[in-house]
Symmetry: C2
Subunit: 382 residues, 2 copies
């Protein structure tokens, strides 16, 4: 017998049945009171999860579309910006800002480490940092398993004449993001990560300060033009046909999130991460990410000497129907990444660790069966 | 008792149960062989419906995103283009091309009429038409109920050094579009119209000639960059996380389309349109669109003297649970539009005409009950 595949990946992530069943309903028209009720409920829920008083815009796109939209809306050709890159998704901001003709400065943090707010401060205070109009940071860098100190970076940016733009695509709804309190001007989130939805929607919060920049932006855009979205949002609608099924699903998923409570959700994710790391270490494996910056949503594990980590993943996937992911770019074959975000509980993690133990044994790694599971179980608050 | 709302609108349109049930399945990861099978099946189906040998790209966006993508990929600032506008969606091409800094010439066709290929030829042969690098045409102009002669326009464009770009967002899968044979360089389609899917995906076919232009384009884009989509398509994947649920649904809907057969589908739509027009005329109502250009997918009806057409729509919607749409912009309150595209059969149309008769009576319009239904029934091939 085969169970449904358990996705322990950095997205797409598992979707609760309550959310999925909304997707099978007959479609409704998006210019109706009935749809408006879902849209308003989603928008109210989003504001709570983003912890903002400002509007949160909903785009039909992947998270990358949300990243591009932030760039295209808030800047003009030649604007100097700083990208703090800690991995693949930080680098994506470098690519997008470069493509759009901005003057791009980059702080490259070694992969596996998190950004140091002091280093950012130093850069901005230096002649090279003079006139920076935007600072881009990835919250949860899924390629390495690192979470950046978004609050701390916000502190060094406070009072500066630049926009603070955070890619929280995978973290929003799983780790704390205090958008307003931390002074973030744009937070970008994706549907298919901690928010327990299928892929297809990107959400972007926009501060008053960002709106001022948007009104002056000279980069061409039409589909992603935030001014059109703001105008429509005031009428509780979207400028173009939105993904009706996904919006209805989102209103349901946000209900579940707010029912569990943000604090409880953050605690659950933190505990899952602690348990995962405890298991990894008990099995004699090495963590890839510096533990000071370890993400609550994804754990990266170094391939042990002489072990084909991709083979381990393959066995987990084909024999035990648990999908985890490998390394990207130069980390290919060198790490394994276990996602524990969204609709994931302690049993899911224990199942994953069990499969990891069994699969490691099959490729010749020495361990005493149950070591990882026991360590996880002792750490889990279940 | 209330039945589910019947959408007789220009989209979103009704979705078959077989398609909807795929949306409720647990999510699968997009970088897997299992997903690849759906993606490949969708792509093969799309090529058949587009009637092209060239790749069809899948974007997570509304149709408008597809329109912008066509503009941003194939042109550079200052390029001269011609937009043939027959309504709201033609005007949207004017807005997008203008926003992206192109040198935009416009042929404005009176609303309710279709474009005359000879007029386009004359323009292109005139000094003003010299050096036009792209011609944009809407196939099915849902705002007026007009279908443009895409084949005929293709003939006057043949041999010219300009790209032929067709918005077939609402028509593809409902009316014939012979992409390759008619020499169309880019055809843009949307998921939520004749293709019987929820909104959220745009599809764009790209000819060899268009690829050459794309390689030279200097407009900034990242999320919609077709070169990235082409590269990924060669590996049977997408550059960014695609809308997994919608792709799976699309592979199912395309199966249904190909099973019914394109010729049968086109004949069904044409017959529905003929029956709808027969009913409208039998009821003494006036068609808005010039019958020479009447769309097979949507019928626009003029408000009779002294009749509040929006009130008629309201009764159809609230009392009979059938949704049709009103006029846009200067046609607000002046016309009603009945969509008959996608998952619509003769019974759906008869139901709509019945509700139209009953609602017209309620607002004081004189008619003999059954006149429209009988005319439709006599025309329908059921």
């Amino acid at each position: 017998m085969r169970k449904d595949k358990l996705l322990m990946t950095p997205g797409p992530t598992m979707i609760p049945h309550k959310v999925r069943e909304t997707m099978a309903r007959q479609i409704i028209h998006h210019r109706t009171k009935e749809f408006e009720r879902y849209f308003v409920k989603m928008n109210e829920g989003l504001k709570k999860v983003f912890q903002t008083q400002n509007p949160v815009l909903t785009l039909v796109s992947s998270g990358t579309g949300g990243m591009e939209a932030a760039v295209a809306n808030a800047f003009s050709p030649g604007d100097k910006v700083l990208v703090v890159s800690t991995g693949v998704f930080g680098d994506r901001f470098v690519k997008i800002t470069t493509r759009f003709g901005l003057d791009v400065k980059v702080i490259n943090v070694p992969w596996g480490c998190g950004a140091d707010p002091e280093e950012i401060k130093k850069f901005l205070d230096s002649p090279e940092g003079d006139g920076v109009k935007g600072v881009f940071v990835t919250h949860n860098e899924t390629s390495t398993g690192v979470a950046n100190d978004i609050k701390g970076i916000g502190e060094v940016l406070k009072g500066r004449d630049c926009l603070y733009i955070v890619d929280a695509i995978s973290s929003l709804g799983g780790m704390e993001v205090k958008t307003d309190e931390w002074g973030i001007d744009m937070v970008i989130a994706g549907s298919q990560k901690a928010l327990m939805l299928p892929p297809g929607l990107a959400f972007v919060s926009v501060s008053e300060k960002a709106w001022k920049a948007i009104e002056k932006s000279k980069l061409p855009k039409f589909y992603f033009d935030f001014l059109a979205y703001r105008k429509s949002l005031n009428d509780n609608t979207t400028p173009y046909t939105t993904a009706v099924s996904l919006v209805i699903a989102a209103s349901e998923a946000l209900d579940m999130i707010l029912e569990e409570g943000l604090e409880n959700i953050f605690a659950r994710h933190r505990n899952l991460a602690e348990a995962c790391r405890a298991a990894v270490k008990a099995l004699g494996l090495e963590l890839f990410a510096d533990e000071r910056y370890a993400s609550d949503l994804i754990t990266s594990i170094k391939a042990p000497e002489g072990i084909d980590i991709d083979q381990v993943r393959k066995i987990m996937n084909l024999q035990y129907d648990i999908m985890v992911t490998g390394g990207q770019q130069h980390l290919k074959g060198k790490i394994m990444r276990i996602g524990h975000m969204g609709y994931v509980d302690g049993f899911d993690l224990l199942k994953t660790i069990t499969a990891l133990e069994l699969s490691l044994l099959k490729v010749g790694y020495k361990l005493e069966l149950g070591t990882g599971v026991t360590a996880a179980l002792k750490t889990l608050k279940m």
